[in-house]
Symmetry: C3
Subunit: 145 residues, 3 copies
């Protein structure tokens, strides 16, 4: 386990937002984070519904879009200035639950309430990882601007 | 994305509670929040099990009660003085996962451990939203009492 | 609802870690918590993937290991000096989601990003509960060392 192993803990400050019907949830989060210059964000909780859900299913590398009426039953991950890593699980009218990597292009159905915490003493970036082959989270101490 | 867009971030203070066998999880949360006068609460994490689970499945408007032995694998949402918006996902003995809007009338099986954060600089309320047709989360600055 | 009912709220301090391919997620968390002497930890968020997942399905008492490529779509629970209580839900290449109690012996596929909060004014322990028959979470005020 790496990244912040040698770092002191970070204080946190919280935000709470609501997405309206039709909004693209991730586009909204990106705008919020950019407008405030947030550098190390974690999802705390998210509750609401989507009727369009762009999902990249595990180990497929392919995006697909699910249409319907879905309850958001989990949304997990981190956001930084350049990007994010988010997974979601969604439940349909039978309670059946689908989960995957989550991306741009969703549409909120009735609402989405999201609580975020910024780790104000850290900066998150993504850098190439030779082990995974992808850009992966790096946690660094926040430098005074 | 609305609500706290123009608000400064909030500090947070944490609570950790355990529900005992037979307890109604949401009734317990409501009592806890009311007894302490909490005004803007987010679920941080919840782990435990239910044997009675009142669920309102996506886009049905109808409550049904699932009976069995279920692991709580997610509980997400917000709580205020007047109400809450919670979704849950539950897994059975085959690992099959059902998710939905969560309400009053559950029964804890062995335990439920819940960590909450109160956003002490915010107040959550629910007000009518013409776009969704429901009362939806509004985030406001906390006024000194 | 018990445990911290009579306790004042706790402040929180945050950690963010990344697990590399092949790492045992829980072993990594235990090492991290032990190395820092953390006494009352909650998962805030976790995102990533596993290709080996040790699961104890609801009400079975039996551990089984799922092999494949799974997205972590939720990880919930608490960690203390002596142990933890964690549940996980995982989604496969079809989006199908399995959830259960989570334990030692996992292997990270590409990455796992985990944000933790320590409740610095509390100590978590597990003590026998006559109602459930298991050791269950007890929340106590942190004593100065």
């Amino acid at each position: 386990m790496t990244s912040s192993d040698a770092l002191p803990p970070s204080r946190g400050r919280f935000y709470a937002v609501r997405c309206k019907p039709g909004e693209d949830l991730l586009a909204g989060l990106r705008s919020f984070v950019a407008a405030r210059g947030l550098k190390a964000v974690s999802i705390v909780t998210a509750v609401g519904s989507l009727n369009t859900a762009p999902l990249r299913l595990a180990n497929t590398g392919v995006w697909e879009t699910r249409q319907g009426h879905f309850e958001i039953v989990s949304l997990v991950g981190t956001i930084d200035e350049q990007g994010e890593h988010l997974h979601i699980s969604l439940s349909d009218r039978h309670g059946v639950t689908v989960g995957a990597h989550f991306g741009l292009g969703s549409a909120v159905y009735t609402t989405a309430e999201i609580v975020l915490v910024e780790l104000e003493d850290y900066t998150f970036t993504r850098k190439p990882c030779s082990l995974s082959g992808y850009d992966e989270l790096v946690v660094e101490p926040r430098r005074a601007d």
